[in-house]
Amino acid sequence: MSHPAELTAIPAHAHEHEHDHGGTGVYAKTLIGLLILTAITVAAASFDFGQGNVVIALFVATIKASLVVLFFMHLRWDKPVNAIIAMAGFLFLGVFIMFCLLDFNARNNYLPSNLHPVPDMPLAPGTAPAGEVLHTNPAAAAEGGEKK
């Protein structure tokens, strides 16, 4: 009972606040920042840091994305609920990536990808024609198995 809905809580002059933030100057600075970061990330890519290249590229991209979200998309001044929604999107994407990596990084049981069609076994009635069925060399599979 004690929580008034937002619509009654909005002061009448809230609308005017919208004009206060931002401004051409802020936007111009943001753009310059974004262009500089683009230059940095392009420059960094011409050096070989090994795995570091990916980290740098994605880190810079995240800074750039944050600038866009905060200033161009006004999230810096916007109502918190919109920020929560935006973050939820990225958060759940992160969950998705994280758990998939948890699986993929721990895998070690791929067959050699040199699969080739070998019609070595009669096909059960109704199966696809021989050319479409992959035969994997069981001996190769076993070898892969021992090598993990």
């Binding site: 009972m1 929580h3 009654t8 609920v81 969950v95 758990f99 998939c100 948890l102 699986d103 721990a106």
Partner: protein, 550 residues
């Protein structure tokens, strides 16, 4: 209908207004182009119930085919193996995507949510209508796919089977893609509505628990469904262009498809069950005439179920070839689901304690929900536990488990909710006596059909089997007989509900002595829901008599 409610604080008997949302405007276009959430809710209701009928017929067909190992009925083979595979796929796909996902949120939710909030409509009425037409488009595409030979992939579309099998798989996945976006827009609409269109004086913890459930559902709809969309797009492209992501012949990974699919489809289980729980949270306090026990616990458990549902999808893949590390992590996280579910059960139980319980039809369904959800939830422990899951997964045990959750719980709650809001939606009371008969048959039939399947599963009967070993025949036959009783119960329910529509309007504004705002307007409501903007004066489920005197 009932005595004693005249003294209740929540009754507001006014003369029935001449105009209501049903008769304010007339003609085809007044419905087809309506922006009114109540009419859109009714259109959805008709749509999902039609889908339910369709899916139900396929279910009965599946059961009938499994009656005997020879699949013969009166000397004729009922379905061949290919037909059987198509029929169970259609049953699954229709029930999941066309019926159960939109069932509660889009039909009852659409109708009730703005009323409960004291709002005139949902936040984006045009988007609401658009999402209904998306649903309709998806339904038509699914039926078209059915006409063009139907698909035999199972509703899960597992690769590489789905990328290599014949049939209109692309059309069917496109249909599901469209249905997904319908679901996204419904969820989006509800979140915005709950945030911005609450009646004056209604804070977050004054929301009816139905709204909390629908809100939690909407979070999943918005955040998980896009991944289903992209998964299906990838599947279609894999089929038509061989892009090499899911099909191992061209370098893809079928287990990646399962990750993609279950990232949506596990949370989708909560798109199905959370609204059911939401309805139960309304029915139990109303028919116990007692305030809800642990309001905040129920509200938080809805949202936490929604969030936890995103991090447990790997439990569908314990033996599917994901890494062992992932399997262990997903099993551990899966057990988290049990906690909020348990919390809800205990709260409902304690709400009934010392109540004043009227066993009207909706309440009978609510109690049925409690028993069936208990069975569905507890058998989930067998499947979440790694060692037993290895034996039980991909068998009838799983089939029985998810039917207890999706049908025994969600559909039971849906039917209960339908009875609960039927007077509000149609302005008419249904036959209480027949209602009880229908509920009894539903319970007997359902438990006969699916309790049996736990035994089939633990005995080692794999799912999606056309032929089975003779030793399973008695159990299959028992299950099939159960499905007839189940069907009869639903038929009776449909019959008396439809029969009630022929009566003149006789429902009082608040037949159940409910406390939420939808009972404050007339039955059926007027076009813009309330004569005056309602202001929340009492918390929901407040049955204290002190305030009666006031």
């Amino acid at each position: 209908m009932d005595q004693g409610i005249a003294t209740s604080p929540h009754i507001g008997d006014r003369p029935r207004p001449k105009k209501n949302y049903l008769n304010e405007t007339k003609g085809f276009w007044s419905w087809a182009a309506t922006l009114d959430h109540k009419r859109i809710g009714i259109m959805y209701l008709v749509g999902v119930l039609t889908s339910f009928l369709m899916g139900g017929i396929f279910a009965l067909l599946v059961r009938l085919t499994l009656l005997t190992p020879s699949h013969k009925l009166f000397g004729k083979v009922l379905l061949t193996a290919e037909q059987y595979n198509r029929v169970f796929t259609l049953h699954g796909a229709i029930m999941v995507f066309l019926f159960i996902i939109p069932a509660i949120p889009a039909s009852l939710g659409n109708f009730v949510l703005p009323l409960m909030l004291g709002a005139k409509d949902v936040a984006f009425p045009r988007l609401n209508l658009f999402s209904f037409y998306l649903w309709l488009t998806g339904a038509i595409m699914a039926i078209a796919a059915m006409v063009f030979g139907a698909v035999d992939t199972g509703w899960t579309f597992y690769t590489p089977y789905s990328t290599t099998t014949d049939g209109p798989v692309t059309l069917m996945t496109a249909a599901v893609f469209v249905l997904g976006f319908s679901s996204i827009f419904t969820g989006l609409n509800f979140i915005a509505t709950v945030h911005k269109l609450r009646a004056p004086g209604m804070g977050w913890f004054d929301l009816p628990l139905f709204i909390w459930g629908i809100y939690a559902t909407a979070i999943i709809q918005v955040l998980a469904t896009p991944v289903l969309g992209i998964t299906l797009v990838l599947l279609m492209l894999e089929r038509s262009f061989g892009i090499g992501i899911f099909d191992p012949r061209i370098g893809g990974d079928p287990v990646l498809f399962q990750h993609f699919f279950w990232f949506y489809s596990h949370p989708a289980v909560y798109i199905m069950i959370l609204p059911g729980m939401a309805i139960i949270s309304e029915l139990i306090p109303t028919f116990s005439q007692k305030t809800i026990f642990g309001y905040r616990a129920i509200a938080y458990s809805s949202v936490s179920l929604a969030l936890v549902s995103f991090i447990v999808w790997g439990h569908h893949m314990f033996v599917a070839g994901q890494s062992q590390l992932a399997t262990v992590v997903f099993s551990a996280l899966t057990f988290l689901v049990a906690i909020p579910s348990g919390v809800k059960m205990f709260n409902w139980m304690l709400t009934m304690h010392k109540g004043n319980i009227k066993l009207d039809t909706p309440m009978l369904y609510a109690i049925s929900f409690l028993t069936m959800f208990a069975i569905g939830g507890l058998t989930g422990i067998f499947l979440g536990t790694l060692a037993t899951d290895v034996h039980l997964t991909d068998t009838y045990f799983v089939v029985a488990h998810f039917h207890y959750v999706m049908v025994g719980s969600t559909v039971t709650a849906f039917i209960g909710g339908l009875h609960y809001w039927w007077p509000k939606m149609t302005g008419r009371m249904y036959s209480e006596a027949w209602g009880r008969v229908g509920c009894a048959l539903w319970n007997i039939g359902f438990n006969m059909t699916f309790l049996t399947q736990f035994f089939l599963g633990s005995k080692g009967m794999p799912r999606r089997y056309y032929n089975y070993l003779d030793q399973f025949q008695p159990l299959h036959a028992f299950s099939t007989v159960g499905s007839w009783i189940l069907g009869l119960g639903l038929f009776i329910t449909a019959a008396y509900l439809l029969a009630s529509l022929r009566k003149p309007m006789d429902a009082p504004d608040n037949p159940w002595n409910g406390t939420t705002l939808e009972w404050k307007t007339s039955s059926p409501p007027i076009m813009h829901n309330f004569e005056e903007q309602p202001v929340l004066e009492r918390e929901p489920y407040d049955y204290r008599p002190v305030l009666v005197a006031k």
